[in-house]
């Protein structure tokens, strides 16, 4: 069936099978491979993207359920060559090693900071507790998100 949704600000229309999962729609039909596909069971959180402004696990939502809705993926964080503070934070604090969990972590972090611009370490850990990182032990991810909180505009960093 035909679905139309807004993805990173642009309207897209595709023909899909109703059983197609949103994560595969975004990756395979739109070529937005920044969103990763991991456990398939809504445990690992690497497939986190935003639907209608809230982070969701896209391995457990059908693409047809996103019909008429608004999707935001990790590709939308960078604007005009300027990294989002969350992305810059992951650079500054070495918030990734293999990078597999990173897109999901960053999408969750961006939403957390939009709601709570100055989160405590406990609030950061709570926000990302549904996402798994097997490299960093989470320490550097928490630092990266704190860095982003302390540098709400990356323009000044780049300058």
């Amino acid at each position: 069936m035909q679905v139309t949704m807004t993805v990173n600000g642009e309207e897209v229309t595709r023909d899909v099978e109703p059983r197609l999962l949103l994560v595969h729609f975004v990756r395979d039909h739109l070529g937005l491979t920044g969103t990763h596909w991991g456990c398939d069971t809504s445990n690992c959180g690497t497939c986190v993207l935003w639907m209608d402004g809230e982070p969701i696990k896209s391995c457990t939502v059908l693409a047809v359920m996103a019909n008429g809705r608004s999707i935001r993926t990790v590709e939308d964080l960078e604007r005009d060559g300027v990294l989002d503070p969350v992305q810059q934070g992951f650079v500054e604090e070495h918030g990734l090693q293999c990078g597999f969990c990173t897109p999901g972590m960053m999408m969750t972090a961006r939403r957390l900071l939009d709601r709570h611009p100055d989160p405590s370490e406990a609030e950061i850990r709570e926000a990302i507790c549904g996402q798994i990182c097997r490299c960093t032990g989470y320490e550097n991810i928490v630092r990266a998100i704190r860095w982003a909180a302390e540098h709400p505009s990356t323009a000044e960093v780049n300058a």
């Binding site: 069936m1 099978e17 109703p18 059983r19 197609l20 999962l21 595969h24 398939d40 069971t41 809504s42 445990n43 959180g45 986190v48 639907m51 809230e54 982070p55 969701i56 696990k57 457990t60 939502v61 059908l62 047809v64 359920m65 019909n67 969750t108 709570e126 926000a127 507790c129 549904g130 996402q131």
Partner: protein, 291 residues
């Protein structure tokens, strides 16, 4: 790679539309709300509906409010919305206790209250919570609406009173003065099912227990309730000794099985200990002390 089997899809625009679609397509049609229970079941072929009826546009079912002396929770209320509802937390602290430990924050953004209790997994937290709270469920069909008590809602594992052409629209919890409630859960890690969880609801008149509900998850308690423990407390004094003996009855009355989450003896121990902790916190809250 886990994907569901081929399935048809329609999106309902109203409760009436959803009910019409259910009637038209028969028992192989399934409603899909957040999908965080149904889609994993479909990936594993444990569920294989022929058509999914998406009810995420039924905005009238996203609601948490006080009406007619009840807290009324719309079936499509997302877990996050219940957790963020000050009204829910003020009336029943147990709801916020439980929501903090249900799945994880991302799953709570999309999973729904109605979806959780209709899944009726034996380890499901809100089933134990609503059993403790003596809630009732509003079930609609094209021929009208019926309200059933939680004891009659839960027919067994993964089985509820909601028929093939019916849908759950609301959960109602009676508000009583002098009450307190709490939920205690032990899980292996965030996002997992409970090893065991216990919820307690107490109504106190001075030191006397005028009403009580104790819910247990993951230990095969009938209707998610510790009935003998409730009976022992009802009408008596809310003393710690009474809580200790009620907790013992709760542990004795359940039938946990050994599995990858732990041996039966450990789960039975937890059922008693978590019941005791939940009763103590519920009593403190009923007395106006934060616990």
């Amino acid at each position: 790679m886990q994907v569901p089997a081929p399935v048809e899809y329609e999106r309902a625009t109203s409760v009436e539309h959803a009910l019409d679609l259910l009637e038209r397509h028969g028992p192989e049609a399934r409603l899909i709300a957040g999908g965080h229970s149904l889609l994993p079941m479909m990936k594993l072929r444990l569920a294989r509906p022929e058509i999914l009826i998406d009810i995420n546009d039924l905005t009238g079912l996203f609601d948490v409010r006080v009406e007619a002396g009840e807290l009324r929770i719309g079936a499509m209320t997302r877990h996050r919305e219940l957790l963020e509802s000050a009204t829910a937390g003020e009336q029943f602290a147990i709801l916020h206790d439980a929501e903090r430990v249900i799945a994880d924050p991302i799953v709570r953004n999309w999973g729904t209250i109605g979806g959780s209790i209709c899944q009726a997994d034996p380890s499901e937290d809100l089933s134990a919570v609503f059993a403790a709270l003596r809630a009732s469920a509003v079930i609609r069909s094209t021929s009208g609406e019926r309200v059933v008590a939680m004891d009659d809602f839960h027919l067994g594992p993964y089985t509820t009173a909601v028929g093939p052409a019916e849908m759950l629209t609301e959960v109602r919890v009676p508000i009583r003065a002098g009450s307190g409630s709490a939920y205690e859960k032990v899980e292996r890690r965030i996002g997992d099912w409970a090893i065991v969880a216990a919820g307690a609801y107490l109504c106190l008149d001075g030191s006397r227990v005028t009403d009580v509900g104790i819910g247990l998850a993951a230990v095969r308690a009938e209707h998610f309730r510790a009935g003998a423990a409730e009976d022992a407390l009802r009408g008596g004094d809310a003393t710690d000794e009474a809580f200790v003996s009620a907790a013992r009855l709760a542990a004795e009355g359940c039938e946990p099985v050994s599995d990858q989450r732990g041996p039966a003896d450990y789960k039975r121990h937890l059922a008693g200990e978590l019941t005791l902790r939940a009763l103590r916190r519920a009593a403190a809250r009923a007395r106006g002390q934060e616990a």
